[in-house]
Point group: C2
Chain length 387, copies 2
């Protein structure tokens, strides 16, 4: 396999972009990534578009050709990759394979999702398509409702209190203040979180990632092509994807996401590192309890001890395992198909020393974990600064 | 790049499968492919699912995890690939890259689409999502309507008569008679085609591919793994994808599909062959005129002479360039996301000598061309018998 480097990144602000369409957001992020890479979009050999719900919410499929057209780069290879909320991380994996194979040199992976324009019932319908329509959605379950089952089972099994789990939302908001691209740049208190309305018992509104619009883009190239430059070089040290049984009722234990364990184990092996070597993390905390479970399943805490990491400051900028320092899904926002790519862009900023007030000093190895469904698909991508 | 081989193929019959769901069809095709390959599904490292409209028509996304679950192979990598009607051929390309990269050994690419259950207005809505929702679909254009523009422009530019173009539908039906997996196994006459209702002037009903349900699956592996066996070995000699401007109004000439020319040129180069070296062809004749244009753009006929190839018997089994010998999109059927994989399976049967009454004697090199939108995305995959 050819070694692969990240050479350019770009994002839009996550927001309710009422006056901008899917293509507008995608093009903005892509142009930024190309400028960052110092290349023209015409240098691209392939485009991967990560998106979950454009067919259902915008009446638009075929985003590969559409976005390539609007980037002005017809003639290249392009397609859409979908894996529910993990579409971004999984599309990154496909772009990685495309460059690693040797067939393509410059590959752009762009994620985009637009949810603001849709009415709430349609958004709920779109999100539950991440689970089994025939056996789960048909019962009337919502996506947040399924996560509520996980939350309650986790509290009961490990005797963890909700006020400790909910702290993760406070953490996310505290860091989003410094992220100009975040959807919510305001601090919140634990009291506010716990007194916000229940959206699916026991999940409070302020423990849930919001709906929003956004796009993120990343350009990959062969490592050998960029080693000649004098700038910082960011290598893709590992890229792995794992799926679990789609639905919770098919799993032995819903308080552990085995797809995370599997993808992380394979990624650590591929990068020739251990969990302890990771300097900075972006993980998929669509709901607070899921974020706590991620900290454990990624190997950063023992089972049942994830919330303690948050409480004891271990995921803060100066902590043992700095995590979600741009606001996480709760406060940076969660434009579904784009989220996994926002995470990777944020890791790149950290490794390049471009993370501003969220900068982790000397960060060399960063990990991004992206989840589709309730732990049904997980991507783990590990980046390393090689100079 | 590692060399890649096709080691297993399987399909369902294309039909109106009223009592079977997406997953039923996908699993049937996949089990057949695994049996054909002589492996267990548990040997798979990754699954790619090709599909266009499951979100809109079945309320189901996240087919990567869903299908892996139903195949009983959780833990592996999986995702959905979408490129409108080219989803199958483009997903094959991703599977090819996955094996070529060296990261995965056994990769299953399965395409599935289910259209029978949906009402006609929803099918029309789903299909026009292949073109631009904001600038084209919004005018009220239908997908067949856009193809009608191409048909008429082609007839006028090259002074070709409709009765010559429509012969392609007669050809397709004549060969589908021998294909047990074809949707329509009855012969039709040119008179029947030309007297069938107009669905979008000048396109007659019997010149249009039908709606239907079906699944096709292919298993790839490194060529080095299968070379030890004594059986016939089928190599992926080339796999290329190209996109054009999404919509017809953005192109200089709508009677030539430049994405086909581009993908074919790159594929011939990759396989180190010329168009004349291709022994057997499956091409995307969603409408008769598009099929005629394909014959030209693939390099088999001069512009304006494609219909003459059909009329003079050159695409027959014993002709110069045997094409669509299993019924093509018109008679084998066109279950959108699966079509590109049906084509490749049919090429594999030819190269293995398993094509029954449609067998082209001594076929060594086969080409499959799959189109998304009106020539907006084109994949060209070339297979070669290496023993």
């Amino acid at each position: 396999m050819r070694e692969v480097a990240v050479v350019g990144v770009g994002v839009t602000k996550v927001a309710e972009h009422w006056e901008r369409s899917l293509r507008d957001l995608f093009v903005e992020a892509s142009l930024k990534a190309a400028e960052d890479a110092g290349i023209s979009l015409r240098d691209l050999d392939a485009v991967y578009v990560a998106n979950m719900s454009s067919g259902y919410l915008q009446g638009q499929e075929h985003l590969g050709s559409l976005m390539s057209t609007w980037l002005g780069v017809s003639g290249i290879a392009a397609c859409k990759v979908e894996a529910a909320c993990a579409s971004g991380g999984v599309a990154f994996h496909q772009g990685f394979l495309a460059v690693a194979s040797g067939l393509y040199d410059y590959v752009l992976i762009g994620g985009v999702e637009k949810m603001s324009d849709a009415i709430t019932p349609d958004i709920l319908s779109a999100l539950i398509m991440a689970d089994d329509q025939e056996y789960v959605a048909s019962t009337g379950a919502t996506f947040v409702g399924l996560n509520a089952l996980v939350y309650r089972a986790y509290m009961e099994k490990y005797k963890v209190k909700q006020e400790d789990i909910a702290l993760l939302a406070v953490h996310d908001h505290a860091y989003a203040v410094n992220n100009p691209y975040a959807q919510f740049r305001n601090e919140i208190t634990l009291e506010q979180v716990l007194s916000s309305p229940l959206v699916a018992d026991p999940i409070h509104l302020l423990e849930s990632s919001p709906t929003g619009d956004g796009a993120a883009a990343i350009i990959l190239a062969p490592l050998e092509k960029v080693k000649r430059c004098n700038d910082v070089v960011i290598e893709v040290a590992a890229s792995r994807v794992a799926v679990d049984h789609l639905s919770l009722n098919e799993r032995e234990d819903i308080t552990t996401m085995t797809a995370t364990i599997r993808a992380a184990r394979e990624a650590y092996k591929m990068a020739k590192i251990d969990a302890k070597d990771v300097d900075v993390v972006e993980m998929h905390d669509a709901f607070t309890a899921l974020g706590i479970i991620n900290l454990e399943d990624l190997g950063f805490a023992e089972k049942g001890k994830g919330a303690l990491m948050v409480k004891e400051g271990e995921i803060e900028k100066g902590g043992r395992k700095p995590t979600n320092l741009f606001g996480g899904l709760k406060a940076r926002g969660h434009p579904v198909g784009a989220t996994g790519l926002y995470q990777i862009v944020e890791i790149v900023w950290q490794l390049r020393g471009q993370a501003g007030k969220s900068q982790v000093e000397g960060a060399e190895i960063g990990l991004a974990q992206n989840i589709g469904g309730v732990g049904s698909t997980v991507s783990v991508n590990i980046l390393r600064r090689v100079r």
